[in-house]
Amino acid sequence: MNEIELLIRRRFETIGTGESVGAAARLMGAARAGILLVRDDSGALAGVVTDRDLSLRVVGHGRDGTHLPIGEIMSRPAHTCELTDDLAEALERMNRHGIRRMPALAQGKPVGLLVLDDVLHHVAGELRDLSHEARSRHDHPTSQRIQSTSGSPENILAELEERLGKLRGKLRAANWHAREAFLGELDEIKARLRQVLPLHGEDSAEQGQK
């Protein structure tokens, strides 16, 4: 299972093109959703509509939403990704189009919603795992468990480097929105990386202190 398939929300709300803006707003409120997938008469994805679309395109233009069909104000075509797409590429596409949520398709049908906040939450989790591992290695550099699962201490920083590099790539692709959980994790990883850096300095003091 690739990352997009793991990260998407399987629960999302849909509405028909002919339903009213008022109905869409009520659905968003009841479902605590910020986006609805709009389906045409055949059930295919016709577009998307967000709470911001409703605000700017309807309220901002003084239009009466009581009978206004969603099909008239939705964004179309929707920017989508496939379940099999590379996550970094999907994030880059979201960034390019300035969107935070993207329907994920399988065989042309929407099966989930890729949400930037969820991606950041996931990245935060990876950072936390990384920081825990860094801490464990620092506290127990000769631990059999750590050695057996992760190799020699000399490989510690090479692994950290690789994993941080991957995280950095994701952050770069998705760096314009935050999730609060992410913030706490970074404080933690910073503290723990500071623990592991001197470890490396001891291993290669001459090189490290230049």
């Binding site: 707003a25 709470d51 409703l54 309220v59 920083l157 952050l171 935050a178 609060e180």
Partner: protein
């Protein structure tokens, strides 16, 4: 370390008596997702988001010109002082479950706005610095702080 100066641009504001329609127009024109609501003495009293407008007006099939900003805005307004840190901003956002924090002076006057989006950009830069530190075997203390300030504060 105080909040970086680049966040001290005064954000878009609107009066409590203004209509929801005017608020939505202003958000559209300014390409923003929120407006700070200020009273007649220019003190910030609330915040209004595009979602507040969409749900507040359209859920009940109300007329946009008849609904006021005061009816839709969120209060009380959570703010941060300019001499507080980025870490405190992150903490306040987490505690209150919000993404935007108006920056005020000691008297409560509006000075700027910092958003969760801004924090993540700073954090991303910090991660790059940390990653670079690992790659180059530098000890962290030897690294210069990024000139935009850091979520982690002064070392």
């Amino acid at each position: 370390m105080a909040l970086p100066n680049r966040f001290l641009a005064k954000p878009r504001t609107i009066a409590p008596a203004a209509s929801a329609q005017l608020a939505a127009e202003q958000m559209d024109n300014a390409h923003v997702g929120s407006l700070i609501v200020t009273d007649e003495r220019d003190n910030p009293v609330g915040i209004l988001t595009d979602r507040d407008i969409a749900l507040g007006v359209l859920c009940c099939d109300l007329a946009a010109e008849a609904v006021t900003v005061a009816e839709l805005m969120s209060t009380p307004l959570h703010t941060i002082q300019r001499d507080q840190s980025l870490a405190e901003a992150a903490h306040l956002m987490r505690v209150h479950g919000i993404r935007r924090l108006p920056i005020v002076d000691a008297g409560g006057a509006l000075l700027g706005l910092i958003a969760a989006d801004d924090l993540i950009q700073i954090l991303s830069a910090d991660i790059c610095h940390l990653s670079g530190a690992v790659q180059k075997s530098f000890v962290l203390e030897s690294l210069p702080l990024p000139n935009h300030g850091s979520i982690f504060g002064p070392e």
